[in-house]
């Protein structure tokens, strides 16, 4: 069982040449086995934050700490980022190191995420949703203590997204990693997260730290969830900056205009 707490303190993150910082004065902790959703409008630095936690971006004034130094990280990027020259099974196997039974494990992981009979296919022969599943299999292959998910359901059609969300939650129940889940959809966050951190429009700051007290399993269409969604937006009008795009379906440009 994974039991890794995550401590994040970011005083300031500014990209070279940018007019204003991407993130500023942002601090939070995530309890072991908790799913923490990061919700905010585009440009709020969600992906930047995830890259910093993943250790991909070290050019930051701040710290990321785990309470175990050997914490294993699994990550799903916003695009699947599979190696196009490796078969599906080899893509999963790639992260497994020199395991003798790596091939068998890779195949089992692909079954776990609901993929049959595509082990020897190349990524470009798969649909977007299936590629996302392979990326998920790869992310959990390392038995992560910390699972970083960057918009894992974005640009999938509704049924595909719903199935992938169920798979994700089933695997989380099994492995209990600490999860950071980036999304711009409030409903999606309410459906999966224990806690939601709302980020402001850039520079990303922490607006609200909200605990989702809904029993699992949750139905994203359930009235209780919808009510919480509406209540949340009423109680925190300052979230509207980020949430207007979700509720009314406006594009970013229209929302700011």
């Amino acid at each position: 069982m994974a039991d890794v707490r995550l401590f994040v303190t970011i005083r300031r993150k500014q990209y070279a040449g940018a007019a204003k910082p991407a993130l500023e004065q942002l601090a939070f902790t995530a309890a072991a086995g908790e799913i923490v959703a990061l919700v905010g409008p585009s440009g709020s630095g969600k992906s930047t934050l995830l890259n910093i936690v993943a250790g991909l971006d070290r050019d930051v004034n701040g710290e990321v700490q785990f309470d175990r130094p050997d914490a294993r990280i699994g990550m799903m990027f916003q695009t699947s980022r599979l190696m196009p020259w490796l078969t599906v099974a080899d893509n999963v196997r790639l992260v497994l190191g020199r395991d003798a039974d790596g091939a068998a494990r890779a195949r089992q992981l692909l079954r776990d995420v609901g993929l049959d009979d595509v082990d020897d296919a190349f990524p470009r022969q798969l649909s977007g949703g299936m590629q996302r599943r392979v990326a998920l299999a790869r992310a959990i292959a390392v038995r992560p203590d910390l699972l970083l998910l960057d918009e894992p359901l974005v640009s999938l059609d509704a049924p595909t997204a719903a199935r992938l969300r169920q798979t994700l939650l089933a695997l989380w129940l099994q492995l209990k990693p600490t999860v950071l889940y980036v999304t711009h959809e409030l409903r999606e966050a309410l459906a999966v997260a224990d806690r939601i951190l709302f980020l402001s429009r850039g520079p990303g700051r922490l607006l609200v730290d909200f605990t989702v007290e809904l029993p699992r399993p949750r139905d994203p269409g359930a009235p209780a969830l919808a009510a919480m969604h509406d209540r949340l937006l009423r109680a925190h009008p300052d979230l509207l900056d980020g949430s207007a795009t979700l509720t009314s379906g406006l594009t970013d440009g229209e929302a700011t205009a």
């Binding site: 993943a54 699994g74 695009t79 980022r81 020259w85 490796l86 470009r124």
Partner: protein
């Protein structure tokens, strides 16, 4: 189905165009002065003669050895430099001037200088050929290194892949098209330069033989050696490079 059929159609087309060239040669030769352009049959007979007495295989073998050595040397050094220059602006700026110089120095100058500095031996010959080819490999591979997808390298970082695994399974596959291109054009260049280098400074190999027959104005022998040489190039392309290329780009289809 379609893939196999188009491959065999391709093979037919290739064969037909070669046959056409052969027919044209036959026609021109039979119309003109045969001491200047012998017929294909005469050349084939001459090639058979040199094959039988072992002379052709001896010189062809020596030339092949020189081609192989300088090709591998140039690919290794050129790939390393190309990756370094593609990755780092600093290295790129530092070496760019030398690269342009290297691209433009005539092959003959490099060969002559190598023979003077390293002596009239195979070491000088191989270095001279490699030096001529390295710059073109660098240019191609640098292009590939600049186009590398950092998103995929991030995957390797997050999942803590070992350096060697990252290189072999994440980094180099992105360079394969560029490496194949460099190998193809490079091999063609190496063939040509090896013959020149042999002509001016070695006492064996195809280039030396062609030089010798040139002094006797023995056009039949020159063409016999050229034909043997051309056959070798085709065999290497069909049996070596093309299958490798097909294997490495299997995932694209």
């Amino acid at each position: 189905m379609t893939a196999t059929r188009s491959i065999s159609v391709d093979a037919w087309m290739r064969g037909l165009s070669l046959l056409g060239a052969l027919a044209a040669w036959q026609i021109v030769a039979s119309l003109g002065d045969q001491s200047l352009l012998p017929t294909p049959a005469t050349v084939l007979a001459s090639m058979g003669h040199y094959l039988a007495n072992g002379e052709l295989l001896y010189h062809l073998g020596i030339t092949l050895a020189r081609v192989t050595a300088s090709f591998l040397l140039a690919m290794a050094i050129g790939t390393t430099l190309g990756i370094l220059m593609g990755r780092s602006r600093w290295v790129d700026t530092a070496l760019d001037g030398i690269l342009i110089l290297g691209l433009n120095i005539p092959a003959l100058v490099v060969a002559v200088l190598c023979y003077i500095w390293f002596g009239l031996g195979d070491v000088a010959a191989v270095i001279a050929v490699a030096l001529n080819k390295i710059p073109t490999v660098v240019v191609t591979v640098r292009e590939g290194a600049r186009a590398v997808d950092h998103g995929l390298l991030d995957v390797a970082t997050v999942f803590k892949l070992s350096r060697i695994r990252t290189l072999l399974r994440v980094y180099l596959p992105q360079l394969y098209p560029y490496l194949m291109g460099a190998a193809r054009s490079g091999l063609a260049l190496v063939w040509k330069i090896v013959l020149v280098v042999e002509l001016i400074g070695r006492s064996n190999g195809i280039g030396f033989q062609i030089g010798t027959y040139f002094q006797f104005f023995d056009i039949t022998s020159i063409l016999a050696y050229t034909l043997a040489f051309a056959c070798t190039v085709v065999i290497i392309e069909e049996a070596g490079l093309r299958p490798i290329d097909r294997r490495l780009t299997r995932w694209r289809t």
